[in-house]
């Protein structure tokens, strides 16, 4: 099997649906990044990578309990989309959510302290890795039930339309969740009511340990909206520029009142499904090939160096600054007290 992200078979500019069931949508060219864009993307993705590596360490040391799903490898997806989003747009995802929160400018301290179950965590330590929210930053979770966030994200879009807002709901789910029934119930309503929602399918090829080929009759998830007249495209989710331009196109589609759209992000997770995953279902070579040839951060780094927009020292300085932010978050998350026992009975009902 090739390790390269699958590009659309029809070529990047062909219409999505030859059958005419869903509106034709062109796959936009990767965005032209300025030096500042490249540096922002580099720092944003690096923060997620270093944060997740630290979370993995803290898990191994016993500071983080339960389930912990790392986003390493998929950083370009959320980083590129955030670069396209505007104030007021909302984000909601499942449980592989740390990267989304960092991209939405939630504080690394607050996220890490939630992972360690401390009072300074975003949910006062009561939610954990899979259940975090920030109304202030328009991040609506952090949901532990595969697929549930798709209906919820559709509801956010319903609220935007009800209030006549221009805001768009970016509703993330994986290739695994794409086989849940409520996803299609949501597609139907979103298309019927022309709700401003982008369904971002992060296709990292494995639903836990089951590959897309073994779980899905239709493996092109950008086609999954055709029955509901929802257009969709496949995007190179390892290229932050391609993600950003796809995001801009999709946001404009929603803001124009054209209803929902699907962005299938072809991506890859380097780590296991969760910390306890031995990853026997794929070869080390497959992972290594992806890391060495398609790493989203290395791609940006190479462009920065090629264009002489940054030298090794400048990149190292960024890395150092990011490591300091992560170390501070980790320190806070290990020293912040656990929630007061009185918190057991708070926040159940208002």
């Amino acid at each position: 099997m090739t390790a390269a992200p699958k590009r659309t078979k029809r070529g990047p500019s062909k219409s999505k649906s030859e059958s005419g069931l869903a509106p034709a949508i062109s796959v936009p060219k990767p965005a032209n990044f300025s030096k500042q864009d490249e540096l922002d993307a580099y720092r944003g993705m690096l923060l997620i990578r270093r944060f997740e590596e630290k979370a993995g360490q803290l898990y191994g040391m016993g500071f983080i309990g339960g389930f912990c799903h790392l986003y390493i490898g998929q950083e370009a997806v959320v980083t590129g989309l955030k670069m396209a989003m505007e104030d007021g747009d909302q984000m909601i995802t499942a449980y592989r959510d740390h990267g989304h929160m960092l991209a939405m400018d939630m504080s690394p301290r607050g996220v890490m302290a939630e992972l360690t179950g401390r009072r300074g965590g975003y949910s006062k330590g009561k939610g954990g890795s899979m259940h975090m929210f920030s109304k202030e930053k328009n991040f609506y979770g952090g949901h532990g039930i595969v697929g549930a966030q798709v209906s919820l994200g559709t509801g956010l879009a319903f609220a935007n339309r009800y209030r006549d807002l221009k805001a768009v709901s970016l509703t993330f789910f994986g290739d695994g969740a794409a086989n849940q029934g409520q996803v299609y119930e949501s597609f139907n309503m979103a298309s019927l009511w022309k709700l401003p929602v982008i369904y971002v399918i992060e296709n990292n090829r494995y639903a836990m340990g089951t590959s897309v080929a073994r779980s899905s009759a239709e493996t092109d998830f950008s086609h999954r909206g055709i029955s509901f007249k929802i257009p969709g495209i496949q995007v190179d989710g390892m290229d932050v520029r391609a993600v950003k331009s796809a995001g801009e196109m999709a946001l404009a589609h929603c803001r124009d009142g054209k209803g929902p759209i699907i962005l299938e992000m072809m991506t890859y997770r380097y780590r296991g499904h969760s910390m306890s995953d031995p990853a026997k279902y794929r070869s080390k070579d497959e992972v290594q090939k992806m890391r060495s040839e398609h790493d989203p951060i290395e791609q940006v780094k190479a462009r920065l160096v090629d264009k002489k927009w940054a030298d090794e020292d400048e990149l190292k300085a960024i890395d150092k600054e990011v490591r300091e932010v992560v170390a501070d978050a980790a320190e806070f998350a290990q020293t912040d007290p656990e929630p007061d026992v009185s918190e057991l009975y708070t926040d159940i009902v208002i």
Binding site: I92, K124, G144, A148, S151, L152, Q182
Partner: protein, 482 residues
């Protein structure tokens, strides 16, 4: 022999209706399938089609008549060769498809269920509290002993539970632009059970939203909209269908406030008919009060009277938490006094003492109250003065009111239609044992539905549900007077 045309039932729970219009007159020829009349209830208007051929010999119930009981003869159809003189011999109607019923005199036909020799049907009527399904009959007298929320001298208006629920939603939608209602058939159809009647006309399609048949999906959409701050009222056509959506109710709506450390919750109402209706069998006849009462983060309300339905639904819509609002199809058409107040809101979490008494306490809620009230009346005739408590809210449960009552009467019987294991009554019994053991003079008796899926056959359905005799017997047992 002349054939009687009987007042038809539009639904399994209809007891009577109005004869709105005759479309045929005496002497007209009638073919099978002809529309001969229009009948209406507060829920719907329907056309009556002729089943047999003949001539409309005599109209027995005039156009405009109100409160015509189901199965009352409304006209007589003459077959070929018969004349109006034969009308006295009319009969042979087969109410409720009782095929074995023999031809009977008109006098017997007036009480067709009894004429059918089928006690089950007669008793089905009993559990619906006969005479309370009128469009506007005499309102049921509710002996409110402890509802401090109604000022003395307030005008009372006879209102069905159905109207009370609709009024509550309409008032809250007028009050708050962020309140909307969504569900199957809530808009164009005016509600599968006509609870949302008129809302589309007043508030428009933006705020009265017909959904596809998609319980899991639209429950999630509702919760998502609530997380964004809107105040959805999600109607389930019945709570049986909400099992498709229970993950969104329990995992998303109920837990988000806690999991977000108090940042974000879901101000949403899930409402619809709950529990057994009549003759709809196992998959459509189940009480979810105990199920949802298990979940921290939910409030669970199940009213009995129209006043409680109105005041508590208004409270539920304003409540910042997810509220499960359990209604009952059989109660929808029943009429009660509702206080005429500008803004009648009742507290969630407070029981109502329906009737004060000294000898034993019956605790119930929702349609269970119909058994409790009748049992208390019977027992009063035998010199046993029962206190009847209507819980109204199942979660948070007003145990203080129950325990105060038990401290006075020393005896407790609970009544509900749900299954027995882990029932609401079980929880109350356990709490009373822990908090008021020394006041109990007898073990608590819990009356529930039987531990079986709801059967379809009328006689078995009757056996599966609680009945008044069981409640009476239980009170006597805890009083050692059995």
């Amino acid at each position: 022999m002349p054939i009687e045309i009987l007042m038809p039932a539009l639904s399994p729970t209809m007891e009577e209706g109005n004869l709105a219009k005759w479309l045929k007159k005496e002497g007209d020829a009638v073919s099978a399938g002809d529309v001969i009349a229009e009948i209406e209830t507060d829920k719907a208007t329907m056309e009556v089609e002729a089943v047999d051929e003949g001539t409309l010999g005599k109209i027995l119930i005039e156009e405009g008549a109100e409160g015509v009981k189901v199965n009352t003869p409304i006209a007589v159809l003459l077959e070929e060769g018969e004349s109006a003189d034969d009308i006295g011999k009319a009969g042979g109607a087969k109410p409720d498809g009782k095929a074995e019923q023999e031809a009977s005199a008109p006098a017997e036909a007036e009480k067709p269920a009894a004429a059918a020799g089928d006690d089950a049907v007669a008793d089905m009527d009993a559990r619906r509290v006969p005479g309370e399904g009128k469009v506007h009959p005499e309102p049921k007298k509710v002996d409110v002993a402890s509802d401090p929320d109604i000022p003395d001298g307030t005008e009372m208006v006879a209102t069905t539970v159905r109207e009370a629920l609709r009024d509550a939603m309409a008032e809250e939608m007028r009050r708050d632009e962020e309140v909307f209602v969504m569900g199957e058939e809530v808009a164009e159809y005016q509600g599968a059970y006509k609870i949302t009647q008129g809302l589309l006309q007043e508030f428009g399609a933006r705020r009265v939203v017909d959904t596809p048949i998609t319980e899991h999906g639209f429950a999630g959409v509702g919760v998502g909209a609530a997380m964004a701050g809107l105040k959805p009222i999600v109607e389930f056509m019945t709570f049986n269908f909400a099992m498709q959506a229970i993950d969104q109710i329990v995992n998303s709506a109920a837990k988000t406030l806690y999991m977000s450390g108090g940042q974000m919750g879901a101000p949403i109402v899930f409402r619809g008919p709950n529990g057994a209706a009549a003759r709809v069998a196992a998959q459509h006849s189940q009480c979810y009060a105990a199920w949802y009462s298990h979940i921290p983060g939910l409030k669970v309300v199940q009213p009995y009277t129209a006043a409680d339905a109105k005041g508590l639904l208004k409270a539920a819509i304003r409540d910042p938490n997810p509220v499960i609002f359990l209604e009952n199809e059989i109660l929808y058409g029943q009429t009660f006094d509702v206080p005429k107040l500008d803004d009648f809101v009742l507290p969630i979490g407070k029981a109502r003492i329906q009737k004060q008494g000294t000898d034993a306490t019956i605790v119930s809620f929702g349609i269970g109250m119909t058994y409790a009230v009748k049992a208390a009346e019977e027992l009063a005739g035998e010199g046993i003065d029962v206190e009847v408590i209507d819980l109204r809210t199942i979660r948070p449960l007003d145990l203080d009111t129950v325990i105060e009552s038990v401290k006075k009467t020393n005896r407790l019987v609970t009544v509900e239609e749900g299954f027995p294991q882990s029932s609401v009554g079980d929880h109350i019994a356990s709490q009373v044992m822990q908090r008021a053991f020394d006041w109990l003079d007898a073990p608590v008796v819990t009356i529930c539905g039987k531990d079986v899926p709801m059967p379809y056959a009328a006689n078995l359905e009757k056996l599966a549900l609680p009945n008044v005799a069981e409640v009476v017997q239980a009170v006597k047992a805890v009083s050692y007077k059995a």
